[in-house]
């Protein structure tokens, strides 16, 4: 095959390498791992949201069959470590100490107070029932707004629930005007729109429950964990438990989804670590789904107070955002950083001259919150895309018109926003035009009008979301300027085996994304080797010793670029060797399709042959080391900014409030696409998670701080029967921030879809005087909004799970 005949791997819809093992059940989930002499852990958890622990009697549990020991926080010293917050967003952030297993006071229902170690999981569970814990219940801070007013204190010793107050102001930063001036002016001769939106509390609900196995035998302590972040876990274990990093190996085997929910250093991991070290035997803990829902970190949970100032024609002059963000009982690893990640995105694709953002993070006696797919950016996109619809109504124009009036034109790129970020590329006009055409926008608007005029019991709404996001976490200097505790680079190594195969080592840690396939495609193109000859290794700190793992749509944009650079170094190292073997000058060589050839001759050598020659090292040039293996670390200098136009048509049964999604179209610009099949999957899945926030999901607590939606019976994930086939496409304006031109796609669907759906619902019933329905838009809330011409109420007052009722039969 000659160079011209080689089909590029990048852009091909390669079937995934990962799938063979996953579709045949030949998998390595953490819970599958069984080690000799392994013991099992069961956790004893607090039923109370806030209480003093007055006593823990473990004697009955210790006497139960095959129980090895029962341990409480008091049984451990510093070797238990602490769960760390890596991002104190202000220097004076109030951060409660977070022991994995407190011995004095519990701060949320589900917190661990004792651990049972037994020979089987069943015996551990049986004995856990026998641990007798006495509590003195304390008043619990549950409602976010009341907690922000310090009515009840979640951690009495801190004296306040207010953790941190973080502000960005465009006038102070010198990136824009003064928002108060803009609002004052608009109050006299323009339009001011004030809204308060609720981001309900969500649960990531990855399908694989978290599991951890700790093996303390051998020289290194090994932790297998269903985590997104093996490298960060290793770092945090070393930093907080006194074991040097060189003695710690963390392995993330096959990991069944994360969505941010496995971006955490968890009490369960830390307890398993401490118990394994204490006992000297391997231990395993696998959570139940109910435990997962109550103790794994939650997401979102904000109140958003918004003030938008505009001229009478709809040109926005300023936007002011004031957030309350519920941290839960502790400041998690990213914690208050989540709303900060959204701070630069409320202005979205628009040219706002003035902008002010402030967030107050608040401690409560609920499950801790942290990153969930999108992390800050869905909240920002929701707020701006909902309120742009309100502005359109006020001005009396189509919501697409108001967006076009304010968005950055394609010829204006690169464009520096009011937040000071430079958007490198994009074309909002092109994506919107394509989406409108696929959607049949004008015909659906006509049908909507017809249904309105006819008073049809089924009304039609059209929802729009023209979103952007910042991907590719992250330039380390930017993270440093925001006081984040680590960098944002990624590491890669490319190794040539003696027989000419390629091993790619990446510090990104996939958990379903398809890195093994996409990274293979990149390297196959770069080195000109067959796709099948590339093996991607990851998720084990001993195999991939450097890395910052997978989250924030960073793996391809940052990790992929590191791989490109490492691969290019391999070629550079091979070149003098090729010249030597070909008895040619380096300057006469060209590298193409995996082959060095001497210009103007038919002489050449494949890179695999060079790898073999390097292995034998019989005939290398003087002073050249016998290896082609190369490392690279890439630290981006900027974010990437995918964008897209999403359109949703929703039918609303006005008699019942029931919703029926008719159509969903999206056209996303995510830059260069490596594998369109994987991209489509990311978009589909992202869409459903965003739609699920709009329509179905909510973590609900009762008045005593018990999680009511504590199982999959009551925390409503959609099924195939609740969702539709999506109509997706792309426009492409390559990013200029990395050599592949990629932008990131992991979170796009989730970020974009939520406001598109709610805008559609509100659009369908706006003629009844409705301008907001709180998420999730349950039939009850929609119906009530129609009845009252106002907001749908909350369901929390009537909170009751289905399962408590039954005794079974």
């Amino acid at each position: 095959m000659t160079a011209t005949e080689v089909e590029n791997e990048i852009g091909r819809d390669r079937r995934r390498k990962e799938d063979q093992r996953l579709i045949t059940g030949r998998t390595r989930w953490t819970d599958n791992i069984v080690l000799p002499g392994m013991l099992h852990l069961a956790m004893v958890r607090s039923p109370f949201a806030h209480a003093t622990i007055t006593s823990i009697d473990t004697s009955a549990a210790k006497a139960a069959p095959n129980v090895v020991t029962v341990l409480t926080g008091a049984d451990f010293g510093e070797e238990l470590g602490v769960c760390i917050n890596a991002w104190p967003i202000t220097p004076d952030q109030v951060t409660p100490g977070h022991s994995p297993m407190p011995s004095d006071r519990v701060a949320f229902a589900g917190e661990i107070v004792a651990v049972v170690v037994a020979r089987s999981a069943a015996e551990a569970r049986d004995a856990a029932e026998l641990v007798d814990v006495e509590y003195d219940e304390l008043p619990a801070a549950l409602d976010l707004k009341k907690a922000a007013a310090d009515e009840v204190i979640a951690h009495p010793d801190l004296g306040t629930n207010k953790s941190a107050y973080w502000v960005f102001d465009s006038a102070e930063a010198g990136t824009g005007g003064n928002v108060e001036d803009a609002i004052a002016k608009a109050r006299t001769d323009g339009i001011v729109i004030e809204r308060e939106y609720r981001q309900q509390r969500l649960i990531p609900a990855f399908m694989e429950p978290r599991s951890v196995v700790v093996d303390p035998t051998g020289e290194q302590y090994v932790m297998y964990s269903a985590t997104q972040i093996p490298h960060i876990v290793r770092f945090a274990l070393a930093a907080t438990t006194g074991v040097p990093e060189s003695k710690i190996r963390v392995i993330a085997p096959d990991v069944g989804g994360g969505f941010g929910g496995k971006l955490q250093v968890t009490p369960e991991e830390w307890i398993a670590w401490a118990v394994g070290r204490r006992i000297g035997k391997p231990v395993k803990y696998t959570e139940t789904r109910s435990e997962s829902l109550v103790s794994g970190h939650h997401g979102r949970d904000q109140w958003q107070k918004l003030t938008l100032a505009a001229e009478k024609d709809g040109t926005v002059t300023g936007f002011k955002v004031e957030l309350l963000a519920d941290l839960g009982a502790y400041v998690a690893i990213v914690g208050g950083g989540v709303p900060v990640l959204g701070a630069f995105m409320f202005n979205s694709i628009y040219k706002f001259p003035a902008y002010h953002f402030a967030v107050q993070t608040v401690l409560t006696n609920k499950t801790w919150t942290d990153a969930y797919r999108g992390a800050g950016r869905p909240e920002a996109t929701y707020a701006i895309e909902r309120i742009m619809d309100e502005l359109a109504v006020e001005v009396g124009v189509d919501p697409l018109v108001i967006r076009e009036k304010n968005w950055i034109k394609h010829e204006e790129f690169p464009f520096t926003t009011v937040c000071g970020l430079e958007y490198d590329s994009g074309n909002y006009e092109a994506a919107t035009e394509k989406a409108k055409e696929m959607f049949g926008y004008d015909a659906l608007r006509a049908e909507q009008q017809q249904r309105r005029e006819a008073g049809d019991p089924v009304q039609l709404g059209i929802g729009i979301s023209t979103f952007t996001e910042m991907c590719g976490l992250a330039p380390s200097r930017v993270l440093g300027s925001l006081d984040y505790g680590a960098g944002g680079w990624e590491h890669a190594a490319v190794r040539m085996t003696p027989l000419g195969k390629v091993e790619v080592v990446t510090g990104a840690s996939a958990h379903g994304q398809g890195h093994e396939t996409a990274f293979s495609q990149i390297v196959a193109d770069r080195l000109g080797v067959p796709f099948e000859d590339v093996e991607v290794l990851h998720g084990d700190t001993q195999v991939a010793p450097r890395g910052l793992d997978t989250y924030g749509s960073r793996s391809l944009v940052v990790g992929g670029e590191a791989i490109v650079r490492a691969a290019d170094k391999v070629v550079e190292k091979a070149k003098p060797i090729a010249a030597h073997l070909l008895e040619a000058s380096v300057d006469d060589l060209e590298f193409s399709a995996g082959r060095f050839s001497v210009r103007g001759t038919d002489q050449g050598l494949g890179i695999a042959e060079i790898a073999t020659a390097v292995f034998t090292a019989h005939n290398l040039p003087d002073g050249v080391e016998p290896t082609l293996d190369s490392d690279a670390a890439f630290d981006p200098t900027s974010f990437s900014f995918p964008h897209g136009t999403h359109l949703c048509a929703m039918e609303v049964d006005t008699e019942t409030g029931a919703l029926n999604m008719r159509k969903y179209v999206c056209v996303d610009d995510i830059g260069t696409i490596i594998n369109p099949l994987i991209v489509a999957g990311q978009v589909h899945g992202g869409l459903v998670q965003g739609i699920a926030q709009a329509l179905w999901e909510e973590a609900v607590y009762d008045d005593s701080g018990t999680l009511v939606s504590g199982s999959f019976v009551d925390y409503l994930l959609p099924t195939a029967a609740d969702t539709i086939t999506f109509d997706i496409d792309h426009t492409t304006s390559p990013s200029t921030t990395n050599s592949l031109g990629t932008k990131g796609v992991g979170e796009a669907g989730t970020i974009a879809s939520t406001p598109a759906v709610v805008n559609a619902v509100v659009d369908a019933v706006r003629q009844f005087g409705v301008n907001d329905i709180q998420m999730p838009c349950t039939p009850e809330r929609v119906w009530r909004a129609i009845q009252t011409g106002g907001k749908g109420g909350a369901t929390t007052e009537a909170a009751m799970p289905h399962f408590d009722e039954g005794e079974g039969s």
């Binding site: 969505f259 139940t288 379903g512 199982s711 195939a720 999506f726």
Partner: protein
């Protein structure tokens, strides 16, 4: 302890088990059939779906003792002589999986669905999979995979 004897993926097995042992735990912990997984505790997610005497069940919702004398097929028993089952092949072809955790259950339920309805409509596929949760795919490509396995044309 109760003695049970059953056939799993074509091989006869016999064990003494506690009556409380769930079929899924028996498969995973006693037989090492870890291809079948546990995703919830309320029988909502369907990740543990296997075939019991030829029809799909949630193996978390069957006691091992209740499977005595039965024939069980798991995702590990589908491929024959290195040949994937057509539904397995379709899931790969149509990218009907991402993290893969729900996949064994999805595949087993999809096979059951096609056994009873070889040429289902999209709505019938979606309803037929209502007992299986997936958090990654948005179901779009899972539905395509079942259509593909039913011979309803190329994936898109």
């Amino acid at each position: 302890m109760t003695r049970i004897t059953l056939t799993v993926d074509g091989a006869q097995v016999s064990d003494d088990v506690e009556p409380r042992l769930l079929l899924v735990q028996y498969l995973r912990e006693r037989l090492g059939k870890t291809g079948t997984v546990i995703g919830c505790d309320t029988s909502n997610c369907g990740a543990c779906t296997v075939h019991l005497n030829g029809t799909s069940v949630k193996s978390c919702n069957v006691l091992a003792v209740q499977a005595d004398g039965s024939e069980v097929t798991t995702v590990e028993g589908l491929a024959q002589d290195g040949q994937l089952h057509p539904v397995q092949e379709a899931f790969r072809e149509c990218h009907g999986l991402q993290c893969g955790y729900c996949t064994p259950g999805m595949i087993m339920q999809s096979i059951d669905l096609l056994n009873t309805n070889p040429n289902p409509s999209e709505a019938e596929i979606r309803e037929g999979l209502e007992g299986n949760l997936c958090r990654c795919t948005g179901y779009h490509n899972i539905v395509r995979a079942v259509q593909h396995a039913a011979g309803q044309g190329a994936p898109s």
